[in-house]
C-alpha cells in the first residue's frame, strides 16, 4: 500500500521521464531471501549442591566469560542502610579472600589479565569474571575462594566507604544524575527504589553488616552461573565440583518485597543549576514483566519515543523543530515490582516549557488517537526483524537465558516473542496507552537555569516545587 503510493507519486513528478526513476531505484523495493535463524542451544545443568549452571560453548577465541547471579540486592537494604548492597558488592570485589589478601588477589588476577567485577542491582548481586582459557582452573579456584570466604579487609572497606562519601559529595555535578535522583525520590518516596545513600547511613555500615549479607544470600542454591567461551561442559562441571562441591546448601530465606507507594499526582520540580541547557525528565509508575500488555506497550512506546528516529518524539522535538539532540521514552520493565515509565530530553533554557508541553501532547495523543497503520507496521517489523540481534553474542545468549529463568519469565518467552509482537493491533496500542500512560501523574523534573522559565512553567497547570540541592 505504502509502496504503491510512492510509485504514484514518482510517476506524477517524473511522468515525462520514466527512466529517471524506475521503481527499482528505491532501496526499499528490493526483495530478500528468508533469514536462516535458529535459537542457539544453551546447556543447562544443576550441580549436586544446588548451583545452577548454564553454558554456551564458543571456541572462536581462547577466552571464557563467567557471570554469577546471587539472590539479594538493593531492594532488601533496610531504610537506614540504603546503599549497603552497593557497599557489599564493592567490598566483596576489592576486599580479598581468606587465602588471598586484597593486594595478592588483584596482583594475581591482573597478571592473568583477568577482569573481575561485582555489582548490585535491585534483585541480585552479579559477579563477572573474564579470563583467558588457560587460566580457567585457577580463575575458578579464586572465584570460589572469594564467593565462599570473602575477607572484607578492613582497610579496603574504609576505602570503599570513602569512595561512597565522595559519590554523595559529587551527586550534583551532572544534570542527568540530579534529575534521575529527584524523579525516583518523587515517585517512590521512602521505598528502596527512591532511596539514595546518605553520609550518616554510609558511616554506619559495619563489617558485621557485610558478613550478614554474605551468610544470608551466598549459598549454593542461590547461585546462578552463566558461562560462555572456550570450555567443554564436562571440564567446567569438574572444576566447579572441585571448588564448590563441598559447599552445602542451607536454609533459604524468605524474600519480602517492600510495597511501592501509590502514584502521586503530577507535579513539576525545579532544580537550579547554572548551565545553558535544561535536563527534562518525566516519569510515573509503569509495569513489570508479568504484565500481559508488555508487548503492546513495547509497540506503543516504539511509536511514542522508543523507536529512535522512527518515533514521534524524535520527529517532533528534534527533527521538525531542532529543539533537542536527544529525546526518548521507555518503560523500565520491572523484573518483579513495576518500575517506571520515563521520558527524557535536553533543550536550551528558553525552550524548556515548549519541549515539556510537546512531550506531554505526544503522550496524550497516544491515548486520544489511534496510531496509523504505517506506524504500527513499522514498529512491529522493526521489533520482530531486529530480534535476531539478541543472539549475536554468545555471552549475552547464555546470561539472558539465566536471567529469564532467575526472574521466572514464562516458558518459551523468547520463542514466542515475535508472535506476541505480531499480534498487536492498533486498538491494543490505544488501549494500553490509555491504561498505562498517565499524563496527570507525571512527575516532571527540570534541572537548569530555572529563573529563565520559572514564570512560563506555571502555564503547564501543575503544582510547582523548587528543590534546593544545598539542603539535601
Amino acid at each position: 500500500m505504502r509502496y504503491l503510493f510512492y510509485l504514484l507519486v514518482s510517476l506524477f513528478i517524473f511522468g515525462c521521464s520514466p527512466n529517471f526513476l524506475s521503481s527499482q531505484e528505491r532501496p526499499d523495493q528490493l526483495s530478500f531471501p528468508p533469514l536462516d535463524f535458529s535459537f542457539p542451544e544453551v546447556a543447562e545443568q544443576q550441580l549436586q549442591n544446588g548451583m545452577k549452571l548454564y553454558l554456551k560453548e564458543d571456541n572462536e577465541l581462547p577466552l571464557v566469560e563467567l557471570t554469577v547471579l546471587v539472590e539479594g540486592g538493593s531492594l532488601y537494604d533496610s531504610p537506614d542502610k540504603t546503599g549497603l548492597s552497593q557497599f557489599f558488592a564493592t567490598t566483596l570485589s576489592t576486599g580479598g579472600s581468606e587465602n588471598l589478601s586484597p593486594a595478592e588477589l588483584e596482583a594475581e588476577l591482573e597478571a592473568m589479565a583477568a577482569i573481575l567485577t561485582v555489582s548490585s542491582s535491585s534483585y541480585a548481586y552479579e559477579i563477572d569474571l573474564s579470563l583467558q582459557r588457560k587460566d580457567l582452573e585457577r580463575g575458578i579456584e579464586i572465584l570460589a575462594d572469594l564467593l565462599r570466604r570473602p575477607r572484607f579487609d578492613a582497610e579496603r572497606m574504609e576505602l570503599v566507604r570513602n569512595q561512597m562519601f565522595e559519590g554523595i559529595h559529587r551527586q550534583n555535578d551532572n544534570p542527568g544524575s540530579i534529575a534521575g535522583r529527584i524523579l525516583s525520590e518523587a515517585v517512590y518516596q521512602s521505598h528502596p527504589f527512591g532511596a539514595y545513600p546518605t553520609v550518616a547511613g554510609v558511616a554506619g555500615f559495619s563489617r558485621e553488616d557485610l558478613l550478614e549479607i554474605h551468610s544470608r544470600y551466598f549459598k549454593p542454591q542461590n547461585l546462578w552461573l552463566a558461562v560462555s567461551g572456550d570450555v567443554h561442559q564436562g571440564e567446567l562441571v569438574r572444576l566447579l565440583e572441585q571448588q564448590f562441591g563441598d559447599w552445602q546448601s542451607s536454609e533459604s530465606f524468605l524474600r519480602e518485597m517492600p510495597l511501592e507507594p501509590p502514584a502521586p499526582q503530577g507535579r513539576i520540580y525545579l532544580v537550579d543549576k547554572d548551565i545553558p541547557q535544561t535536563t527534562i525528565l518525566m516519569g510515573h509508575p509503569g509495569i513489570n514483566k508479568d504484565n500481559p500488555d508488555l508487548y503492546a506497550l513495547q509497540v506503543a512506546n516504539y511509536i511514542l519515543g522508543g523507536g529512535g528516529f522512527n518515533s514521534r518524539m524524535m520527529r517532533e522535538v528534534r527533527s521538525n523543530r531542532g529543539l533537542a539532540y536527544s529525546v526518548y521514552s521507555y518503560f523500565q520493565v520491572g523484573r518483579q515490582l513495576p518500575e517506571l515509565f520515563i521520558a527524557k530530553s535536553e533543550t536550551k533554557s528558553n525552550s524548556t516549557v515548549e519541549v515539556v508541553s510537546l512531550m506531554q501532547q505526544l503522550i496524550n495523543q497516544m491515548r486520544d488517537e489511534p496510531v496509523t497503520v504505517a506506524e504500527l507496521d513499522l514498529a512491529k517489523k522493526s521489533l520482530i526483524n531486529s530480534f535476531v540481534f539478541a543472539f549475536s553474542d554468545s555471552h549475552s545468549v547464555v546470561s539472558r537465558k539465566v536471567r529469564l529463568d532467575y526472574y521466572d519469565y514464562p516458558e518459551n518467552y523468547l520463542e514466542h516473542y515475535q508472535q506476541q509482537i505480531a499480534a498487536v493491533s492498533i486498538a491494543d496500542v490505544q488501549r494500553v496507552a490509555q491504561q498505562y500512560l498517565h499524563p496527570d501523574k507525571l512527575q516532571i523534573v527540570l534541572v537548569g537555569d530555572s529563573d529563565r522559565y520559572i514564570d512560563a512553567v506555571s502555564s503547564l497547570g501543575l503544582p510547582v516545587e523548587k528543590v534546593d540541592l544545598s539542603l539535601e
Binding site: 533469514l35 536462516d36 542457539p40 577466552l63 583467558q132 565522595e166 548551565i275 517489523k381 522493526s382 526483524n385
Partner: protein
C-alpha cells in the same frame, strides 16, 4: 579515541604465541581495492546470521579550515536527511524551496550578529524563513533511511565524526545486506541536505549537552584548545558556537563533493555472508562512483611547547583535574613505548596511579590515562583525575608528578612489562568478540593508514625495552611540555 582503542587498532593481529588466532584473522580479513580507489575489507563469520557494515571516510574535524569548522560533523548529520528519491514527496518542487531557504538563511546569517542590523528586517527574514520551511516540510517524508533500516531489522544505525575520520554504520540481519549497499550508494550519489537550519539548531543542542552543560566535556574542550596553539586538533569536532552559527548548505555540499569519494573511502563488512558474491555486490553498487581526489594532509605542525600552561574553568561542579603531555603518534617508535607506559600507569587496580593515588594516599577516587584527541597527527597523553573532597589540586598534582618521575629514574621491571603486554593482548582479544567491534577496529585502522602495517606491530611492541620507556618519560613527561586544566565552582577558586 581511547588509548586502548588505538592500541587495539594496531595490535589485533598480535596475539600470544600459543594461539593461532593472529594467523586465523589475517587469513580471514580479505582486502580489495575497487577500480575507483575504494578499499573493501571483508571478514566472513557465520556464528550468527547478522552483518556489521561500516563505511569510513578519511576526513574529519582536523581537515577543516577556519571558515568551515564543524562542517565535517554537521555534514554527518545532514547525510541522514535523504536523497532525491528517499525523504521526499516531490523533489522537483522541493528543490526550489530548498534554494529559497538557503537564500534567506544566508541573508539572516550575514545580518544576525551585526550591530547595525535593522531588527525589523531581521525579524521579517526570520518569519519568511519559517514560512518557507513550513511549506517545505509538507514535501518531506521524515527519516526514511531510518524507517527502511528499522523495518528490515537494522540496529545501531548511526554515524560518528572524529578528528581524523567519519564513519557510518549499521547492523543488519544477514539476508538484508543488499539493502545496505543500495541505501548507502544512493546516499553517496544523491544526498539531499534538507532541513538544514533546523539541524543546525540540533547541533547547537548537542553542543550544549556534550560540552557546555557537562563538566567532563567542558574540561576536555578547554584542554585541547590550550595544549594546541597551531594544530587544528585544538578545535572541537562539533565546532565553536560561532562556527556552527555561520555554516551554510553550500559549504556542506562542497565538503561532501570534495571528500566523500572512493579514494577516501573504506568499506568494512563483518558477518554472515559469502565473500565472493558480496564483493560483486559491493562493486555493482559502489563501483560506479567517481574516484575523487585524496584529502590533503594537514600542514600545520604544533610548535614545541616551551612552558607549562594552566587554565581554570568555573563550573557548577566539584573540582576536577586534567593534565596532558604532547607526544608523537603512531607509527613513531615512542608511541609504542607510551602504550606500555600508560598501561603500567593506569590500567587496573595494580596500576601505579591506582595504587599510589587511590589506595595509598587516597588523594583521588578515580584516575584515567588515555591518548587523545586523534591518531593521525601527534597527540597527547591525558591524565584525568577526580580529587577527593578536601584534597587540593596541588597535592594531587604533586603525587602525579612523583609517579611520573619514577619512570624517569627507575627502570621498569621485566615482570611489569610482561604483565602490561599480557593485559594489552587480552583486551584486544576481548574486543574481537562482536561483529561490530571487529568492523569498527578494521575500519578505523584502515582509515588511519593501512591495516597490513599491523603485522609489524607485534615486533615493534616486543622490541620496546625498559630503557626505551625511561627515555620517553625523560623526553616528554616534563613540566614545560604539560598543560593543566582545573575545573571548580567560582566561589572555590
Amino acid at each position: 579515541m581511547s588509548r586502548l582503542f588505538i592500541i587495539a587498532l594496531f595490535a589485533f593481529l598480535w596475539i600470544t604465541p600459543e594461539t593461532i588466532l593472529a594467523q586465523t584473522l589475517a587469513d580471514k580479513v580479505q582486502e580489495y581495492k575497487l577500480d575507483n580507489g575504494a578499499t573493501v575489507l571483508l571478514v566472513e563469520r557465520h556464528a550468527s546470521p547478522t552483518v556489521a557494515a561500516y563505511i569510513s571516510f578519511r576526513v574529519g574535524g582536523v581537515n577543516e579550515t577556519s571558515q568551515e569548522r564543524g562542517v565535517a560533523h554537521l555534514l554527518e548529520h545532514m547525510l541522514f536527511k535523504g536523497t532525491k528519491t528517499l525523504g521526499t514527496k516531490n523533489y522537483a518542487v522541493e528543490k526550489k524551496l530548498l534554494q529559497q531557504i538557503k537564500t534567506i538563511g544566508k541573508e539572516i546569517d550575514a545580518l544576525k550578529f551585526r550591530a547595525d542590523t535593522d531588527p525589523q528586517r531581521l525579524q521579517q527574514l526570520q518569519e519568511s524563513l519559517a514560512q518557507v520551511q513550513a511549506e517545505h516540510r509538507k514535501l518531506v517524508v521524515k527519516n526514511e533511511f531510518s524507517r527502511i533500516y528499522g523495518e528490515n531489522g537494522g540496529v545501531g544505525y548511526n554515524a560518528y565524526t572524529s578528528k581524523d575520520a567519519t564513519t557510518y554504520l549499521i547492523n543488519l540481519p544477514a539476508n538484508k545486506l543488499e539493502l545496505w549497499a543500495a541505501i548507502e550508494s544512493d546516499r553517496l550519489q544523491n544526498a539531499v541536505f534538507r532541513e538544514f537550519y533546523t539541524e543546525r539548531d540540533v547541533v547547537h543542542e548537542e553542543r550544549r549537552r556534550s560540552y557546555e552543560s557537562s563538566p567532563d566535556g567542558m574540561m576536555y574542550e578547554t584542554l585541547l584548545a590550550t595544549a594546541y596553539k597551531v594544530h587544528p586538533y585544538r578545535n572541537p569536532i562539533i565546532g565553536w558556537n560561532s562556527d556552527i552559527d555561520s555554516l551554510d548548505p553550500d559549504q556542506i555540499r562542497e565538503f561532501f563533493d570534495k571528500y566523500y569519494t572512493p579514494v577516501n573511502m573504506v568499506i568494512t563488512l563483518v558477518g554472515d555472508f559469502e565473500s565472493e558474491a558480496t564483493l560483486e555486490m559491493v562493486k555493482r553498487y559502489f563501483g560506479k562512483l567517481k574516484p575523487g581526489v585524496p584529502v590533503p594532509p594537514v600542514v600545520d605542525r604544533e610548535p614545541e611547547q616551551n612552558g607549562e600552561r594552566r587554565v581554570t574553568i568555573n563550573f557548577d561542579a566539584e573540582p576536577q583535574l586534567m593534565i596532558a603531555y604532547h607526544k608523537p603518534t603512531m607509527p613513531h617508535r615512542d608511541d609504542y613505548a607510551f602504550d606500555l607506559l600508560m598501561q603500567v600507569l593506569s590500567e587496573g587496580r595494580t596500576s601505579r596511579f591506582y595504587q599510589s593515588l587511590v589506595v595509598d594516599k587516597q588523594l583521588v577516587t578515580d584516575v584515567n590515562v588515555f591518548g587523545a584527541p586523534g591518531s593521525r597527527y601527534d597527540n597527547l597523553m591525558v591524565v584525568s583525575l577526580t580529587p577527593r573532597n578536601g584534597r587540593s589540586s596541588a597535592e594531587v598534582e604533586a603525587a602525579v608528578y612523583a609517579e611520573l618521575e619514577r619512570f624517569r629514574s627507575e627502570l621498569l621491571s621485566p615482570g611489569e612489562l610482561e604483565v602490561a603486554r599480557n593485559q594489552i593482548l587480552t583486551s584486544i582479544l576481548r574486543s574481537l568478540k562482536g561483529n561490530s567491534g571487529l568492523a569498527r577496529m578494521l575500519s578505523s585502522y584502515q582509515t588511519l593508514g593501512d591495516w597490513h602495517y599491523l603485522v609489524e606491530y607485534e615486533d615493534q611492541l616486543n622490541s620496546i625495552t625498559p630503557e626505551d620507556i625511561m627515555a620517553v618519560a625523560k623526553r616528554y613527561l616534563q613540566a614545560d611540555n604539560r598543560t593543566v586544566v582545573t575545573l571548580m565552582r567560582e566561589e572555590q577558586n
